[in-house]
């Protein structure tokens, strides 16, 4: 699993690549938190288009970031979620708190 981070305006865009499970979750968590701490961004877009596997550990990572961003009065959204992962998000009611879009650009436009 690796992660590519870029700032677009006051939105942090994170492209996740690989498998998001308990083993890789900690690394992703650290990367995202470190970036949020040092930059002035308050919104976040997580791009899942390159994520090949995810289990409930991924929900934990997302919900954890969501809580932090709420404290900053920021917004969070998802992009490029495939069917398999979408099912897990639906199960956990994640879409009730953040929207998902087809692409990063769309996510940023609707931010």
């Amino acid at each position: 699993m690796n992660i590519r981070l870029t700032n677009r305006g006051n939105t942090l865009v994170a492209v996740l690549n690989g498998e998001l499970d308990h083993h890789t979750a900690e690394y992703i968590r650290q990367k995202l938190d470190a970036e949020m701490l040092k930059s002035t961004t308050k919104n976040m877009v997580l791009d899942f288009s390159k994520v090949t596997f995810m289990d409930s550990s991924g929900i934990g990572v997302i919900m954890g970031r969501y809580k932090n961003i709420q404290k900053l009065n920021g917004k969070m959204s998802l992009a490029g979620v495939n069917e398999q992962i979408k099912r897990i998000f639906e199960m956990s009611g994640l879409f009730k708190v953040m929207p998902a879009y087809d692409s990063i650009d769309e996510a940023i436009n609707k931010m």
């Binding site: 968590r29 596997f53 289990d55 409930s56 956990s92």
Partner: protein, 132 residues
């Protein structure tokens, strides 16, 4: 009914073995020639069970996780077993969003995911067995 094929895997409770267990389960299940979605379902369910064994059962200490895969004429059965601390209240544990470890950013969705991705999930547990 006796299984047509059966394999048993034992591994150390390291998080890096989660992906390993998934490959093994996927390789076993591919005997029944599933499609990619079905395979992904099995992998996700196995991942949940193995992760639970590592973080809840053994609380990240070192222990052995067993995975037994059985192939029947019309079904595949995968058991993930740990000898860790056990589950006190299974019914509660299976509820969506119940987690004993919110501090670890767990969402309490593991069992729910397993139930949704497999046809049947059985949980058997005895409390006890704290690692030496």
């Amino acid at each position: 009914m006796n299984p047509i094929n059966e394999v048993k895997l034992e591994f150390v409770s390291k998080s890096s073995n989660e992906a390993f267990a998934r490959v093994v389960a996927a390789a076993f299940v591919s005997q029944i020639d599933p499609n990619i979605e079905e395979l992904a379902d099995v992998k996700t369910a196995v991942s949940e069970a193995v992760t639970n064994a590592i973080i809840h059962g053994y609380e990240n200490k070192t222990g052995l996780v067993k995975m037994i895969c059985k192939l029947y004429e019309d079904a595949v059965e995968i058991s993930v077993i740990d000898e860790g601390k056990g589950i006190e209240d299974i019914e509660k544990a299976r509820q969506p969003m119940f987690t004993s470890r919110p501090d670890m950013e767990r969402s309490g969705m593991g069992f729910t995911v397993m139930e949704n991705f497999m046809d049947r999930v059985e949980v058997v547990s005895e409390v006890g067995g704290v690692l030496p």
